[in-house]
């Protein structure tokens, strides 16, 4: 109930913000702008889907930005220098990402270390390796790249729903199904509620942790592939700091940083809000693009305060259970 309240608030902020933008710049309310917004933020949406799982389970994954950077460099080198067919390169890099995520999950579980530290190490590691591979930006000229960027579904009003935007929407839908409808998803929420209790209830906590970080790294890898399509290049400095944008999107989407509560749809709304702010600043033209960061910061702050307030409110008016009438004493 509280979770849906958070999502409703995020949705309301998005609608209100969009309405304000449209009032000032009527052109914003077009399928073209909206479709571009989806394309520009496709990689963010994909990586944020993975982050949603991690944060709901009570963890955090700081390595995703570096994993995106690594993926773009690796794909560019594989396709352009090593002569590996693009799809084989994609498969290879996703396997590497899966192993990387599994290793982080295993370290977190086996040595009982805070995910913050372990994924921070992962962040440096992945970024370092991508610099080791190449320090320059490598353009990708494979035919599949131009084919994919040419592909788009035309929307009424002139918008182009690109392949990478479709990929993001598909991944968000699949992630939502996985999180909300399966045992795996229920276990993710359980872990965020209490690790100890989850273990006592016979859930294999170790393998869950490994699989969650694996999922996050694989989705970061996918985001990296999408990013390479978006920029048609591989560069070791790409997606620096994206882990923080991702966390911001997830939290603005109503997922509790302490775990146990959240949703994929909320995360999608969080991504859209960030995209909307960016779009507004582009339209305005006079504002520095750094205002995106400031606006995101303010929103993040407001949302966290809001969540705390809502939770306090919910605690105070906790539901009186039907079937049991509490008498007198309450603690």
């Amino acid at each position: 109930m509280k979770a849906s309240t958070s999502v409703a608030i995020t949705a309301a902020v998005l609608v209100a913000g969009f309405a304000l933008c449209a009032l000032q710049f009527p052109n914003i309310a077009s399928t073209r702008v909206v479709a571009n917004l989806l394309t520009d933020n496709a990689f963010l949406g994909i990586v944020a889907a993975g982050m949603t799982f991690v944060i709901i389970s009570g963890g955090i994954d700081l390595s995703v930005g570096s994993v995106i950077g690594f993926t773009t460099v690796f794909v560019a080198l594989a396709v352009e220098r090593w002569g590996i067919p693009p799809f084989a390169a994609f498969a290879l890099v996703l396997v590497l990402c899966a192993l990387f995520g599994a290793a982080m999950g295993a370290v977190i579980h086996v040595f009982d270390l805070p995910p913050f530290i372990v994924t921070l190490a992962g962040m440096f590691l992945a970024r370092g390796i991508s610099f080791l591979l190449s320090t320059e930006s490598i353009p990708i000229t494979a035919p599949i790249y131009s084919a994919v960027s040419d592909f788009a579904i035309r929307l009424p009003g002139g918008g182009r729903l690109t392949a990478i935007a479709i990929a993001m929407l598909a991944i968000l839908v699949l992630s939502a199904l996985l999180l909300h409808l399966t045992r795996f998803g229920a276990n993710v929420y359980a872990l965020g509620g209490s690790r100890t209790a989850t273990a006592l209830m016979g859930i294999p906590v170790g393998s869950m942790t490994i699989r969650i970080y694996m999922l996050s790294s694989v989705l970061a890898g996918l985001a990296g592939i999408v990013f390479s399509f978006y920029t048609a290049a591989g560069y070791s400095l790409s997606a620096v700091g994206v882990e923080l944008d991702t966390i911001a999107a997830v939290v603005i989407g109503g997922t509790l940083l302490t775990g146990g509560q959240g949703s994929v749809i909320g995360t999608f709304l969080g991504v859209l809000i960030q995209g909307m702010i960016q779009t507004y600043i582009n339209f305005d033209g006079t504002l520095s693009s750094w205002w995106t960061k400031i606006a995101t910061g303010v929103l993040l702050f407001v949302f966290i305060a809001l969540q705390q307030g809502l939770m306090a409110l919910a605690r105070r008016s906790s539901v009186k259970p039907p079937g049991v009438k509490p008498v007198g004493v309450s603690t």
Partner: protein, 516 residues
């Protein structure tokens, strides 16, 4: 329960423990303990702090490995190595702290890890239907789709029990399940327990509410200091005998020395409480503390002794009554208020609530005084050294090294350093919760001597102890607690072990009944 007083042998035994022994280093937590639980029996496991109840439970549920002895479940020897092993063997435990997931729905909590699925998708409607039907059996008609956190602790307990039993438990261990329930909720839980017992499940019930033990249990096993004191049918066991088993006191043992007490009206009242209490915590009480007087708080574990101390020190906020110091009403909402009024408190959990283990003896001693002076008026190092050395000498803290981390000192010396911490603030009132717990015999006597000395210097003392002999030795008055209420105040010659025992055992209406 006259129909259930058949000889225990008539019941097929379910869980048989023989000669169970478990040590932690030099400490013998369990020595040669036998315990038998029959099918469909509700069996109370009783004992004061350190009696070995939780060690026994933890061995049976696989948290600790045993050193010696056998555990048989329905005739087969078992040796669970984890909580999961124990659950698979058919032994489920529900703790006072519900180990479920408050953020998930009741239905998810019941079926986590074994939800009905079709093509990998959890069948939510089917799961809810089953969960609802399962809980109906326990007399709960609730919306199982709502988060567990939105229900009362009683419902959470019943959910935990329903999950455990549904996982084919044959033995159910309930570790203080009623501690945070009100009377009505306790009744709901008891209904569930009776139903399960009728289905043949054996229930081990750990509680310190004796009324509840008499109400629901068939037999009682009492442990004390890691040893089995005995197992009795509840119908053959008068309450006074049960309390004697738990506290280990015989009426014949009550000879003791006592400080000659002058009439207490002669002393000036230092702090007084009127109708002071907190709902669901401690029933409102009146208490007067006088200069130069020791007031003892006696009662069983969980009777409200520590709770009273915490209220007096403002660690818990009272919701009724008022406190006054030297006749003037005062605000007492936080330990800070209390310290400002000249109160000091040495808590029972010395390691977690008392000492700061990594700091030195000196730093621990000056802590309260510095806090009272405020951060902008730091004690100079010379003053600190002086204070530390003065108390180290006065209380004979060993080794007499103010720069040693306090965590390296023995329990008795840590306790003295804690006393020093408050004495350094020249308090009016000092509250000591179990000052002699976990302290060797020599230091024990010293602490008692210190308590007496302090009292003679004009301090008011409120002391909690489970050691009745000890309490009788130094107390001018003794307040007896039962079921979270102050039930009797003994003074002068009435302060005797036998009269305290009688007051604890008296069959009066419980605080909960009075409150509701």
């Amino acid at each position: 329960m006259s129909d259930s007083s058949a000889p225990p042998a008539a019941r097929p035994s379910l869980l048989e423990i023989r000669g169970l022994t478990k040590s932690f280093g030099a400490l013998k937590a369990l020595q040669d303990v036998d315990f038998t639980l029959g099918e469909g029996e509700i069996h109370a496991l009783l004992g004061e702090n350190g009696a070995g109840k939780s060690t026994l439970i933890k061995v049976v549920t696989g948290v600790f490995a045993r050193d010696a002895g056998t555990v048989r479940l329905a005739g087969d020897e078992i040796a669970p190595r984890s909580a999961k092993d124990a659950v698979e063997a058919g032994i489920a435990t529900v703790y006072q702290e519900v180990n479920l997931l408050p953020n998930l729905s009741v239905a998810q909590n019941l079926y986590l890890g074994r939800q009905p699925t079709r093509f990998g998708v959890v069948r939510q409607a089917e799961m809810r239907r089953r969960a609802h039907a399962l809980l109906l059996d326990y007399g709960l008609d609730i919306d199982v789709g709502a988060p567990l956190a939105s229900y009362s602790v009683a419902v959470q307990h019943i959910t935990a029990i329903a999950r455990a039993v549904d996982l084919s438990a044959r033995v159910l261990i309930l570790d203080e399940p009623t501690a945070s329930l009100d009377r009505h909720e306790v009744e709901i839980l008891f209904r569930v327990m009776r139903k399960l017992a009728a289905d043949g499940i054996g229930i081990v019930f750990v509680s310190h509410f004796l009324d509840q033990v008499y109400e629901i249990c068939d037999r009682v096993t009492v442990l004390r200091n890691g040893r089995l004191i005995g197992t009795r049918d509840i119908t053959d066991l008068p309450r006074l005998d049960l309390i004697r088993m738990m506290l280990g006191r015989e009426l014949a043992e009550t000879t003791h020395e006592r400080a000659a007490s002058q009439p207490d009206t002669a002393r000036e009242v230092c702090v007084s409480f009127k109708g002071f209490g907190k709902q669901g915590y401690v029933a409102p009480f009146d208490l007067e503390l006088r200069r130069g007087e020791v007031v003892g708080l006696a009662g069983l574990l969980g009777s409200g002794r520590t709770e009273t101390a915490r209220l007096v020190f403002g660690a818990e906020r009272a919701d009724s009554g008022e406190a006054s110091v030297a006749g003037k009403a005062v605000r007492l909402n936080s330990p800070r208020d209390a310290a400002g009024l000249g109160f000091g408190y040495c808590p029972e959990e010395r390691k977690t609530e008392g000492i700061v283990a990594d700091l030195t003896v000196r730093e621990n001693i000056v802590l309260a005084l510095q806090a009272r002076r405020g951060l902008h008026r730091p004690l100079s190092r010379r003053e600190q050294d002086e204070i530390a050395m003065r108390y180290i000498r006065m209380l004979d803290i060993r080794p007499p090294d103010p720069e040693r981390p306090i965590g390296l000192l023995s329990g008795g010396n840590q306790q003295k350093a804690l006393l020093a911490r408050w004495l350094a603030t020249s308090p009016k009132l000092l509250v000591l919760d179990e000052p002699t717990r976990g302290i060797d015999v020599g230091a024990h006597a010293e602490i008692i001597r210190l308590v007496r000395d302090l009292c003679e210097q004009g301090l008011a003392l409120l002391v909690i102890s489970s050691e009745l002999d000890e309490i009788v030795t130094y107390s001018n008055r003794v307040v007896v607690l039962r079921d979270r209420a102050h039930v009797e105040e003994l003074k002068g010659d009435a302060v005797e072990v036998s009269s305290i025992l009688a007051a604890i055992a008296a069959d009066a209406p419980t605080a909960q009944e009075v409150a509701s």
